[in-house]
Structure formats: structure tokens, C-alpha cells
Amino acid sequence: MHQALLGRPALNRRRFVQGLSTAAALAAIGARAEAGRASVAPGRMPELGGTEFDLVIDALPVNYAGKRRMATAVNGSVPGPLLRMREGDTVTLRVMNRLQEMTSIHWHGLEVPADMDGVPGISFGGIAPGETFTYRFTLRQTGTYWYHAHTLAEQTGLFGAMIVEPRVPEPASVDRDYVVMLSDWTDEPPLQVYLNLKKMSGYYNFGQPTVGDFFRDVGQLGLSSAIAKRRMWNAARMNPTDYSDVSGTTYTYLMNGTAPAGNWTAIARAGERVRLRFIGAGTATIFDVRIPGLKLTVISTDGQPVEPVEVDEFRIAPGETYDVLVTMPEDRAYTIFAQSMDRTGYARGTLAPAAGMSAQVPRPDRRVWLDPVDMMGAMASMSGDMSDMAPPARHARTEYGPTTDMRVDYPRTNLDDPGAGLRDNGRRVLAYADLRRPGGAPDPRVPAREIELHLTGNMERFIWSIDGVKLNDSRPIHFRKDERLRIIFVNDTMMAHPMHLHGMWSDLEDPGGGFLVRKHTVLVQPAQRVSFAVNADAPGRWAFHCHLLYHMAAGMFREVVVA
């Protein structure tokens, strides 16, 4: 039973890592001799390069929130070392498991053979305690990627960054280059978090509407409006503050493994161009990122280049990556601020000409309710003209049972919506509609067929599924080898789901079917319809799931067979 889920690092010896320390200090204490060529630069995670990598997974005592807890480390560091590779190289990664339970590493976003993909039960049998598994694959792409455990050990820190450099080095376009990994840490064992959610889905949500809120609304809006505002949600037994399953009540949000008080710092001086490679490594946290005082030029997502677009803020979900360019206007500190989508906390670091500097840290935005469009889809925002409406959703027959608490018949298709909590906040916020791949579609073929999949859930009972069917009650989705097909997601829930297809790209489309951008993880907003095309060019069996770890565990997961 749930062997992939169960797992507690062995409680033993070794270093004791303070969350307040910087990643650099952490690495200095933590790097293991046998880990290969560890190089530590100020403000960076330990880094390994070349074509041969030895990675050792072991338990490591840490202290992020005032208590000593066991994390899962790679080569003695949390996050694991940055792996720097080169396009075209064939790399060998020997991963040794020193834990007392099965583990795995998945190379998120890399095109690898199916048996090298690192998903226990689908790619391989996992890495048993004491064993070493050797991954070997050739790098066919460039950009920012990451690796992580495909078990609950992802929550305990088993993840790290990967950069694949182009074979022919690019002319130096930036002066500084940093990885910014955003993650969430809890002192509770991940299985405990999952069980808490199964027993009480609102366990970590202490921002639910109260009687006080009601009277405040009565004062501001009048009695009938205050009642009307609540009627839809309460009639449907839905929670308008249901942004995140797990909140800052248990999470400490980390930037490169450093708690906010530790102030992870990237060094840059006035006039310098800095590339920040943001990686969404949260297990249950979607982050909204900005650097007050600086414009962010987004140049790539999920490792793939996009036409530069200048924004103030962007939302990054677990699994996604965004490369951002900033230019330092003057020699002073700027706060890199990544608030959790539910506004219960933030990860924070600093961009400054010297270590030890800091700028003002904003307060998290006020938590607002989800909008009616997040429950009703297009039905909530109708302007009268329905000629450009998407076709109605086609529900599966399995969406009418206990697993599915809500269905959206007319989903919205507005990819220009930055999402709940970011609407009309006075800042220029990135939306999927802003993303354009230079040169257009990588494959001119029109998808020959469509597969519609609905993201479904029962929030009250914490059941998550696709088409109302949990993974272990489901059968695989068959892609015919070398076909180009279209996946249509309809989100029948009020939560956003970052959907990750392993092994193949998701070519995100606009509502009219036009190509936008190539991604490996697509955030589908509540009550939204999103489509993408897939080239089924990777034979074998693959995972296809929500990258919110506890949604994946609860069943929002399908196996895909390419044959």
C-alpha cells in the first residue's frame, strides 16, 4: 500500500543545517567529499558539472522553523546540488539511496528514454535502500530544468536545479546568472500532512470567512449584498478562500533552501544584467513573484525561449520554471519577493551589490475571495455575445459520483487572466497569453485528434481525480506513436492545477487553437479550459499528473502509454 508515499528518512547523525543560513554556508558545511567536483560560489547552491555525476540521497538534520527535523538531501545539501550539463552530451548519473525506504529522482522537463524518467511504478521500480541506480541519457535541449523525488520525499527537500547549456556557447548576454528555487518546508512528515487533509480538507486554512467578515460586508455593501455574496458559495458548499491545501500555518517558504530571515542574496552591481532562473519547487505552493522597483523581462519558461515580455510580477506553479532578466539600476538592495498564492507567507531574498544588505520586504497582499469566474467559468462573465464561446464541456459519466463535487459546463478560456488574487492589482502581471515562442510552432502539423480530460475533485473529502477517476481506478491514456494530438483540459474544480506531462512537450494553444508556447507544466486555472498539442514521439509509459504533490497522491494522475 502507498509505498511510494510512505517514507521517513532515517533519523541519524550528520550535519545540522540551520534554515537561517544561506545556501552557500549550507553547502560549505554540507558538501560531501564523494560528491564529485563541488564548487561553491557566494549565493549559489553547490554545483556539479560534466558528464558523470554521483548523487547520494540521505537523511539530513535541518532546522527551518525552530525545530530539528530530518530532510532528504542530495550530497548533503538541501536543495540538492545544481547540475550543469551541456546540450548533446550523454550524461551518466549514479544515484545511491542511503535512506531506509525506496526513493527516486525524476528529471523534470528533460526528454529522456521512458526507463530513465524516474517515476516509481511506471519508469522503473524505484531505487531500493542501499542500491544505486544509474541514469543515462543524451541531452537534446537547453535551458533551466530541475530534478526531484517522485515520492513524498519531494516535500522533505529532495530536489535541485539543472541547467543545460547550449553546445555552442551563447555570447555572454548577462553579467550574473542565478538559480532561484522556491519551495515549501514543513516540520510535519508529509504523510501526516496528507492524512490531515484527508481527515479535514480545510485543516491548514485559517483564512476562511467569518462572522466578522460578514458584518464588515454588511457595513460596506448592505445586508442583501453581503448575503448575496455568500449565497453561491454556501449553497454549493464551496470555499471562496480555497487557494492552497497547505498554508503558512505549517509551511516555511524557502528561496534556494533559505528561510526568509536567512535572506538568500544574489550579488549584482549597478548597470549589470542579471538572469534569474526561477524554479517552482513547491510541493503544494503556487508563488507570485516580484522584485519591487525592478521590471522583470521574461525570456523563457520551462526551459524554452519566449519572446521577451516585460512585467512587474508573475505566478509560478510547482513544476514550472521562468527565466527572467533584470538590470540593476543602482547600487542598492532589491527584495526578491515570492508570496504564496494564499497570502499566508512568502519566500524572500535580496538582489544587492554586497552580502548583508536588504531592502524593505512587502507585506503579503490582502487575501481576497475567489471570483465567481473561478467557480462558474464563462457563465459568470458573460457579456451577452456568445459567438466566441468555447464549446461546452463534455463531462465523463464518472463525474457524477462521489469523487466530483462540481462540474463546469461552460469553462472560461481567458488565458490573458493572470489568475485569482492577481486580477486588477495595479501591477503588470504575466499571463499565459503573453508567452510566445520565437519562430512559432515547432511542428506545423494540425493535431489529428482531441482528447478531453477534466480535472475533478471533492474538496470536502480531499479526493482528486481526472474525469472523476482516481489513478488506481483508472486505465491509461494511449497516444499513438508519432501522432500529433490535442489535449483539452477542463478544470471542474475551484483550485488551480499545474498539469505535468512527462516525456513530451505540451505545446500550449490559445483559445482558437493557435500555438503560443512550449511547456512541460501547464497551470490550469479554476473553471478554465486550456488546450495543448503533443507530439507523441517518446515511446513507453509516462506519468501525467497534477504537480501539487498531495493532489497527485490523492489520485489526480494518469498513466500515458505511447505505442
Binding site: 502507498h2 509505498q3 511510494a4 508515499l5 516509481p120 511504478g121 511506471i122 522503473f124 521500480g125 492524512l195 484527508k198 480538507s201 480545510g202 486554512n205 485559517f206 476562511q208 470567512p209 462572522v211 460586508d217 455593501l221 449584498s225 448575496a228 455574496k229 449565497r231 454556501n234 449553497a235 454549493a236 458548499r237 464551496m238 470555499n239 465567481p372 462558474m376 457563465m379 458573460m382 455575445d385 456568445m386 463534455r394 465523463a396 464518472t398 463525474e399 457524477y400 463535487d405 462540474r407 461552460y410 486588477d424 482528447i451 470536502e460 473529502r461 479526493i463 474525469d467 472523476g468 482516481k470 483508472s474 486505465r475 491514456i477 494511449h478 509509459r541 494522475f557 498513466e559 502509454v561
Partner: protein, 339 residues
């Protein structure tokens, strides 16, 4: 997730009546009878004046109406059949129920693209969605002060199982220092089966505790009604041929996210009397309580409250004749715990 404004209410109520054979099923509230949900009485559209929804123009022209399709919503569906008529475009579209209902005949087959493939059988396959979850909820464990007597009272349940089926054990009771246990003191064991996203049905047995105890077959439903009412309706068939019913409803009103006021109501009915237990026939007693708890942690919440328990009809006559109180009030102070 879950839980909203007045948070998980727990009004345990309703016309007690009558599940198991006692009365026509029609006496049960519509939502209880179906595995699906009752329709809200009002259109769920937000007020046009609602400034909290800037992105959402008023859903004018939205009326509840019959759905013409084969899978049209029945009256027990939530947000049923909103008839959306565009103001300018003149187009009309219809929307089925957002919750509950039955799958239309042409609903998609979720396995339509399996093409004969089955999931992998390698070791380590993720099975967390099949996990059996055990939960102990001591909803009430309280000291009681009633008409000069001290006592204790409890209401607890233990559940163990997956998303579809669970073993469900529950017990409730009151014991005052100089009196036998309260007539509703019992232990019950059920097989619980999910019948819808918010409802489940229960089949099992009940064993009374104390003088005049009987054993019962039991069947019922439990779930979360619209507007966050927790409902339990149970019917009983006794080993002496009596039929009985118990209905409970409760509701959690969040004064703050930790200070929660829970009104609850319970009503009991029996087909014939049991003098040993001071029970008459018909509606015997009710229990109307209100408890105010503070969640020190989610799983630990001390509370105080007051419970009023009136008895009715022949039960009241019986108690009056014996010199017992017809109704009693109890001040309570206790601890709510779960793990």
C-alpha cells in the same frame, strides 16, 4: 478546502422521523433521500451590486429552469438548469446542474482512450489514493452540571476506510451522578458507503447501554447539506419489534477562524414505549445545544456550552408520573479532540 462561511454547520435536525420502515420515505427531506444535493432555494447568482466581483458582471437572465436534455437535472440538483439568455446576442445556452445529477446517456467514457492498455505493474506504483484513513473524533467529552447534579456526556466516532467505504463506529451518552444513563446512550457500528460527493449511507447495528437496553438494526444517511449543515438521519428496528428514528443537525459558525459556535439539534422518536428507559411513543425527546469552542490547534478545542433537553407527549407524561423532570438544562464544559 472546504468549509465556508458559517463553517461546517452542524445542525443535527430534521423531522426525525422515519427512515426504516417507520414512515414514508417522502417524509425525509429531499436532499437526504437522494445521494445528491438539494437545490438552493434561491438563484445562486451574486448580487449585481456585489463589488467584490469586479470581473464578474451580473448574471442577468439567469433563471432556474427545466433542462430539456435527456440528462436534465432533477429537483435535487444544485444550481440546476441555469438558463442563460444573452442580452444582446440573443443566443441562449443552458447549463446543467453543477453538482449532483445523473450522467447523460451521451456522457464521455473515461476509458475511451485506453485502447486495451492497463496501468503499469512495476513495484512502487503510487497507491496513496487507496489509502485507508483512520480518524477518531471525540466531538464532545464534557462535564455536565444539571439541576444540582454533576455528570459526564460524550459524543464520539471512529472511522476507518477509504474514500468509498468505511467502518464507522459512534457512541453518545449522558450519565448524571444519581440517575441512570440517558435514554439515548448507545454504541453503534456501521458500514458507511459514499453515495454522492457530500452524502453517504450507513447500515449497521446499535446497542443501547443501561437499563432497558435493546439491540437494533440501523440504517441511515449522513452528509453535508447546502449551506454547510451536517446532517445525520438514522432509522432503527429493535429486537423487540419497535421502530425508532434519530435525527441530528449541526452547523459551525466561525466567529473567528478559531472561535467556533456550534448550534446543534437532535430529535428522537419511538414507535412504542419502553418504560424501563422512561421512553414513551412518538416523539420522545429533543436535545438542543450550543457549544462555543476555541481551536487551540485544529485537533484540540476546549469548549463551553448549554444543552436543553425537553421531552414530549407520552414520554413527558411518563416522566411526570414518575416524578422525573420533563425537561432539563445542562451546562457543559469539555474538550473536542480528534486525531
Amino acid at each position: 478546502m472546504s468549509t465556508l462561511f458559517p463553517r461546517r454547520h452542524t445542525l443535527r435536525t430534521s423531522g426525525a422521523a422515519l427512515l426504516l420502515g417507520m414512515a414514508p420515505l417522502g417524509a425525509i427531506p429531499a436532499h437526504a433521500q437522494h445521494q445528491h444535493e438539494p437545490a438552493p432555494q434561491e438563484s445562486p447568482s451574486p448580487s449585481p451590486a456585489d463589488p467584490s466581483s469586479p470581473g464578474a458582471p451580473p448574471m442577468e437572465g439567469m433563471d432556474r429552469g427545466a433542462h430539456p436534455a435527456a440528462a436534465g437535472p432533477s429537483p435535487d440538483q444544485s444550481m440546476a438548469g441555469m438558463d442563460m439568455s444573452g442580452q444582446s446576442g440573443g443566443a441562449t445556452m443552458r447549463m446543467g446542474a453543477m453538482q449532483g445529477g445523473r450522467a447523460p446517456a451521451d456522457a464521455r467514457d473515461p476509458n475511451a482512450h485506453a485502447d486495451g492498455y492497463e496501468n503499469s505493474t512495476l513495484p512502487g506504483f503510487e497507491r496513496a489514493d487507496q489509502i485507508s484513513v483512520g480518524k477518531v473524533l471525540i466531538d464532545e467529552l464534557e462535564f455536565v452540571r444539571s439541576q444540582g447534579q454533576n455528570g459526564i456526556a460524550w459524543s464520539a466516532q471512529i472511522t476507518q476506510g477509504g474514500d468509498s467505504d468505511k467502518l464507522w463506529i459512534r457512541s453518545q451518552g449522558v450519565k448524571l451522578a444519581h440517575e441512570p444513563v440517558d435514554s439515548d446512550t448507545s454504541v453503534e457500528a456501521f458500514w458507511w458507503h459514499a453515495t454522492g460527493p457530500f452524502w453517504g449511507r450507513m447500515l449497521g447495528v446499535r446497542q443501547d447501554v443501561g437499563p432497558g437496553a435493546h439491540s437494533w438494526l440501523a440504517a441511515g444517511i449522513e452528509g453535508l447539506a447546502p449551506y454547510w449543515f451536517d446532517i445525520e438521519l438514522t432509522g432503527y428496528l429493535g429486537d423487540d419489534g419497535r421502530v425508532a428514528a434519530r435525527a441530528k443537525a449541526s452547523f459551525d459558525l466561525r466567529l473567528t477562524n478559531r472561535l467556533i459556535l456550534t448550534p446543534q439539534a437532535e430529535v428522537n422518536a419511538y414507535s412504542t414505549s419502553n418504560v424501563e428507559r422512561s421512553l414513551g411513543s412518538g416523539f420522545t425527546s429533543a436535545e438542543l445545544g450550543v457549544r462555543l469552542r476555541y481551536e487551540v490547534a485544529r485537533k484540540v478545542a476546549p469548549y463551553i456550552g448549554y444543552v436543553w433537553e425537553p421531552s414530549f407527549g407520552s414520554t413527558a407524561d411518563l416522566r411526570r408520573a414518575r416524578g422525573e423532570r420533563v425537561s432539563e438544562g445542562r451546562f457543559v464544559a469539555g474538550l473536542r479532540l480528534w486525531w
